[in-house]
Amino acid sequence: MIRGKVVIAQDICKGCELCITSCPQESLGLSDKINIKGYRFVELVKDNCTGCVNCALVCPDAAITVYRQRKEVFKANQNMKKAV
């Protein structure tokens, strides 16, 4: 699987959980901590994000930035694995 990761602006997040529902990988969960607004914010809870962007698309507060491994890097890694 291509690797992704998300960065969530914790102080912007309102804990609406819509991103959690829309993540096919179940990578996201609510934190036990609360942010300055008093909301339990969302964080990555599993290391299986694919960078599919779904969470960011539904976030009403534009709190999510999504990163994804470049295709070349992904392919190079795959080839390396095969070689090993």
């Binding site: 690797r3 992704g4 990761k5 960065v7 602006a9 912007i12 309102k14 804990g15 609406c16 959980e17 819509l18 529902t21 829309s22 607004k37 909301y39 960078g51 962007v53 779904n54 960011a56 698309l57 539904v58 976030c59 009403p60 507060d61 534009a62 999510i64 930035t65 999504v66 990163y67 994804r68 491994q69 470049r70 070349e72 890097v73 992904f74």
Partner: protein
């Protein structure tokens, strides 16, 4: 927000558009308004038309839309956004002009302006947020409120006999020759957001044709007004709002132009 440096061959595949300000939005958690703002600004960003775009904010929950969308904007009195937009577009015909309006604003107090603006085929984009209630004033009945739906002013559920039927204003204006592109979208799940963005992009591009009004209804939620969690509200919307307000295109330019 400061983003961490891109490492290990990673690249950014999604970030907040630059045309959205850093001001935190005042909307309730899970409210669809924020998504629609963002999608509009993503398109403005991608088309590089920030310097040519002028928005009109309504009276409703999105009254402060101009705090978030980083383009020139004007307010409008409750219901009059399309009249204000007409004034702008007529004197600045080469600008991209859009209104952003709730169901109370567009389909109750502003019905006259809505119908006539589309009937004149003003070359603007009307974005219509149908959340079935008056969000801003505390969840009163809107023209789009479903039959049987309880609101603070229809406490026993909306009854057709006294309050009339849910107004499908989008279907109504589709009939007008001035309407170029009419579509009904949503923002409750990722693919819906993707489709909305395509529609917004088309609508902005169509403004260049000067062939009529583009009208995008977004069937949206109001977790606070509906007294539900964001998830519940989206589920309720799918089960109850979508049957009354089915998603999809109602009119596309090929139909209009030949």
């Amino acid at each position: 927000m400061k983003l961490p440096p891109i490492t290990n061959g990673f690249e950014i595949v999604y970030k907040k558009p630059d045309t959205l300000t850093d001001t935190p939005m005042h909307y309730c958690p899970g409210c669809g308004h924020g998504v629609v703002h963002r999608v509009l600004m993503e398109v403005v960003d991608e088309m590089k038309i920030q310097d040519k775009t002028i928005g009109v904010a309504p009276v409703g929950c999105s009254v402060f839309a101009y705090n978030y969308m980083n383009v020139d904007m004007q307010e409008a009195a409750h219901g009059r956004a399309t009249a204000v937009a007409t004034g702008i577009k007529r004197v600045l015909p080469d600008r991209f002009v859009f209104t952003y309006q709730g169901d109370g604003d567009l389909a109750a107090i502003g019905t006259g302006e809505t119908v006539h603006t589309v009937n004149r085929g003003e070359n603007i984009l009307i974005v219509f947020i149908n959340n079935g209630v008056y969000g801003m004033t505390g969840g009163q009945m809107a023209p789009t409120t479903l039959l049987g739906m309880k609101t603070t002013t229809s406490p026993y559920g909306r009854e057709a006999a006294s309050a009339g039927f849910p107004l499908k204003i989008t279907n109504l204006i589709t009939q007008l020759p001035g309407a170029l592109y009419v579509t009904r979208q949503a923002v409750h799940e990722p693919n819906a957001v993707r489709r909305l963005k395509k529609a917004v992009r088309l609508a902005f591009e169509y403004q260049l044709l000067k062939k009529g009004t583009c009208f995008i209804e977004v069937v949206s939620n109001c977790p606070s007004g509906w007294k539900m969690t964001p998830q519940e509200s989206n589920k309720w919307m799918e089960e109850n709002m979508f049957p009354m307000y089915p998603l999809g295109d109602l009119k596309v330019p090929s139909q209009t132009m030949n």
